[in-house]
């Protein structure tokens, strides 16, 4: 096994530096060479490392750790009671190193990040072709790849935080990429503010980890000093562990758009569509799922926190799915769908099945990236139109997009044997297995979550096919692509067909090959990507290469003593759960077919319940009324009253006092010498009188 992670980090960083410094001067080809070259090589190195790990699995959790330099070496030895000390017997000198951990989890994440990232880089070459900020876009994208690779491969919590914050920055930069748009800037600020809440929570969690474990490394370092996961539960009490885990989860909720911090993700769709695909669907938003999987050892010692993770995940999954059902903007449908699927992943992790969470993360990266890229191809073909009411019938004009989009929609709906089926059903059967095995109140909660999962599966299938039929089904409802100065050929066509001046459906063309090839590759991955998952359904127990691969990360000999064990789903449970979810998925598809068979029609609906969901439960409005308006009012009042009267008044008052005093005193300076002489005389007389009187 070779740790090539440093190259996966360094290459996109190099690309970012080159593009950031010299991008403006480079030609289009030069920019693409740098951007695609660095991201492609990063993927190559990630793949090589991954393959070498398949050939020689790591012998211990930290065997793939590679420390590059020690940043902090305090030399202070803190003794941790009740913890077997490492080589430095009696305690561990506190050090913080920049190290990269290469284990099955980070290897898998690196493959997804660089693989999907590379495909989206290729796609962006076509999508962003006409944009004046071409070089800036690729500089940011490369920067994101670097930050995300750092996040998933850091070997301690501190550099995890660095990567965590840097991906937030990349997200901010890319959401606000079209900074001329006021809405894009507002969305970027919203995303940043909400992400900072999560970063802050992660910081506090790290402080607590430092306080109670006196190290920030995940695993023992080469000196044998125990890492956080090696010394559990350490001298941390159960309550402390729960607090640490909940703080970690709050960070995850902000990054992965879970309740109650999900609001930024739908707004983040203001960014260019490849950004939505890469950052806000496939990779960055899954950082939370990664963090919980990474810290699974901590969470296993705090089952209460894990249960809260599952409950929040379930609530988010259902909540977001209901909103997605009524959205009209195709990217917003996909955004809420992403939130909902992330909820699934957290549910899976909450049911102690971290492997299932990561598995769903993987397949979701494929099909959600594909959905976004497909939506991007539609938007590109329509010249920027995102409203479903202006689409329809595009299956004739955008054939490749249609078929790949359909595969992705089937995959997310959990139709066998596409990838989403395997991963989603693994989560659902894990939930059911927990429910049946645990019993009692916790069991009831897991039954409820399982029901929510099934319901959400049905809803997912419904809104996905509402989207598919809305874009591609029925007949064309729009007025042709918005003109953005393509070439004369299109203009002629417009003259022939464009009764309303915009060219109609015949002015719509499929995207160039540079955009459709990534679609096709992702479609293949969406179709067969789930095959690394479970075949245990048909009795081939544990034919699950991904789970086997990840197993070393998600097991710990300490857990033998734990009250909560991880329950593997039995064959019966799997069949019940799978049957129900596929049935509901098909029902959802049929429902969408029944309603939108002839294309999407938007009808005004005055039903208050409909209006409630259509307006996304008025969450944004409530936030504005409860939080933003009072703050703005306070600010305005303060600027009017406090600033005008108190602050300005104070400083002006001081100036007035000195001005007036000086004005009075200046009269003493007559400039006549005799006045001064008289003053001196008076002074002398006074002094003499004083001494005379005093005697």
């Amino acid at each position: 096994m070779t740790n090539l992670t440093i190259w996966v980090l360094a290459l996109p960083l190099l690309g970012f530096i080159i593009l950031g410094l010299a991008g403006r001067a480079l030609t289009r080809t030069g920019i693409l060479t740098v951007a695609l070259g660095t991201s492609g090589l990063a993927f190559l190195f990630a793949a090589l490392g991954f393959l070498s790990m398949l050939g020689a699995p790591p012998t211990s959790p930290a065997s793939g750790d590679q420390v590059f330099y020690t940043w902090v070496n305090s030399g202070i030895i803190g003794t941790i009671p009740g913890v077997p000390a490492g080589a430095a017997s009696g305690g561990a000198p506190f050090t913080i190193s920049f190290g990269l951990l290469f284990d099955p989890l980070s290897a898998t994440m690196l493959m997804i990040v660089t693989g999907v990232g590379f495909l989206i880089h290729i796609y962006s070459a076509g999508y962003m072709e006409d944009d004046p900020g071409f070089w800036r876009f690729f500089a940011y994208m490369n920067f994101f790849l670097f930050a995300m690779a750092l996040l998933v491969s850091a070997d301690n919590f501190l550099f995890l935080l660095v990567g965590w914050a840097l991906v937030g920055l990349a997200s901010f930069l890319l959401i606000g990429f079209w900074y001329q748009r006021r809405s894009a800037v507002a969305a970027a600020q919203k995303a940043l503010v909400i992400n900072i809440i999560g970063d802050f929570s992660l910081m506090i969690a790290i402080f607590l980890i430092f306080k109670h474990f006196q190290t920030l490394n995940y695993f023992s370092d080469s000196n044998g000093n125990p890492g956080v996961f090696n010394q559990l539960p350490g001298n941390a009490t159960h309550a402390t562990l729960i607090i640490i885990c909940l703080l970690l989860f709050l960070a995850c909720a902000a990054k992965s758009a879970q309740l109650p911090l999900y609001m930024w993700l739908p707004d983040a769709m203001e960014g260019p569509t490849p950004v939505s695909a890469l950052i806000h669907a496939a990779t960055m938003v899954t950082a939370g799922v990664y963090l919980i999987a990474r810290a699974n050892q901590l969470f296993e010692f705090a089952p209460t926190a894990l249960l809260i993770v599952a409950i929040i995940g379930g609530a988010t999954a259902l909540f977001a799915a209901t909103i997605a059902v009524f959205q009209l903007d195709i990217k917003r449908v996909l955004a809420y769908s992403t939130i909902s699927q992330l909820g699934y992943m957290f549910m899976g992790e909450g049911a102690h099945d971290y492997g299932a969470g990561i598995f769903h993360l993987t397949t979701h990266a494929y099909f959600k990236a594909l959905l976004f890229l497909g939506a991007g191809a539609v938007i590109h073909a329509l010249g920027g139109e995102q409203d479903m009411r202006e689409m329809g019938g595009l299956r004739y004009r955008l054939k490749i997009t249609f078929w790949t989009f359909l595969i992705a929609a089937l995959a997310i709906s959990g139709i066998p044997p596409l990838s989403g089926f395997w991963s989603k059903d693994e989560i659902l059967s894990s939930l059911l297995a927990q429910a049946t095995a645990v019993g009692g109140k916790t069991g009831a909660i897991f039954y409820l979550l399982w029901g929510i999962g099934l319901l959400t599966a049905g809803l997912t299938a419904f809104y996905m096919f509402r989207l598919v039929l809305g874009i591609f089904g029925g007949s064309y409802r729009g007025r042709g692509p918005v003109q953005h100065g393509h070439d004369d050929e299109e203009g002629e066509e417009e003259g022939l067909h464009g009764a309303q001046g915009r060219g109609g459906i015949y002015a719509i063309f499929e995207a160039p090959a540079i955009m459709t090839v990534p679609l096709i590759i992702l479609a293949v991955l969406s179709a067969i990507g789930g095959l690394v998952g479970s075949f245990s359904l048909i009795g081939v127990t544990r034919w699950h290469p991904l789970a086997k691969f990840l197993d070393p990360v998600f097991s710990n000999p300490l857990w033998a003593t734990m009250p909560v064990a991880v329950h593997a789903a039995s064959l019966k449970v799997q069949w019940i759960s799978t049957g129900l979810s596929v049935g509901l998925g098909l029902l959802g598809i049929l429902g969408a077919w029944a309603i939108y068979r002839n294309g999407f029609q938007y009808k005004e609906n005055k039903n208050p319940l409909y209006q409630l969901v259509f307006h996304k439960y008025y969450v944004d409005e409530i936030l504005i009324a409860v939080l933003i308006d009072p703050l703005l009012w306070l600010g305005r009042a303060a600027s009017r009253l406090l600033e005008g009267n108190v602050l300005d008044g104070g400083s002006q008052g001081v100036a007035w006092v000195f001005g007036r005093t000086g004005g009075m005193l200046r009269r003493l300076q007559t400039g006549y010498m005799r006045n001064y002489a008289l003053a001196i005389l008076f002074g002398v007389v006074l002094i003499i009188v004083y001494y005379a009187v005093r005697g």
Binding site: R666, L668, Q669, T670, G671, Y672, M673, R674, L678, L681
Partner: protein, 101 residues
């Protein structure tokens, strides 16, 4: 019969008062300078008187010091007055009020 010291002091105070009055009311800087000299010499007179009365040479030492300083002061002062006269063609002290606040 020796002259009592109070006589000397009365003469000294009288001359000093003439000097002060001259400084305060005259407008010609040369006269003002003379008045200053009167004040200094009035003080010198009392120094000498006390020196004799107390039978100590300290007072006479001071007189030499005061005379030296007075000479230096007159040199600087006259130079300033000449320089002012060159620029303004006029040395009335009541017109010299450019430092008024």
């Amino acid at each position: 019969m020796p002259i009592p010291i109070s006589w000397y002091l009365i003469v000294s105070a009288f001359i000093f008062t003439i000097g002060v009055t001259g400084v305060l009311i005259r407008r010609n800087p040369l006269i003002i300078f003379m008045s200053i000299e009167l004040m200094l010499n009035a003080v010198n007179l009392s120094f000498i008187a006390f020196s004799h009365y107390l039978d100590s040479v300290d007072g006479q030492m001071f007189v030499f010091l005061v005379l030296t300083v007075a000479a230096a002061e007159v040199v600087v002062g006259l130079a300033i007055i000449v320089s002012i006269f060159r620029t303004r063609r006029d040395i009335d002290v009541d017109d010299m009020n450019v430092l008024r606040g």
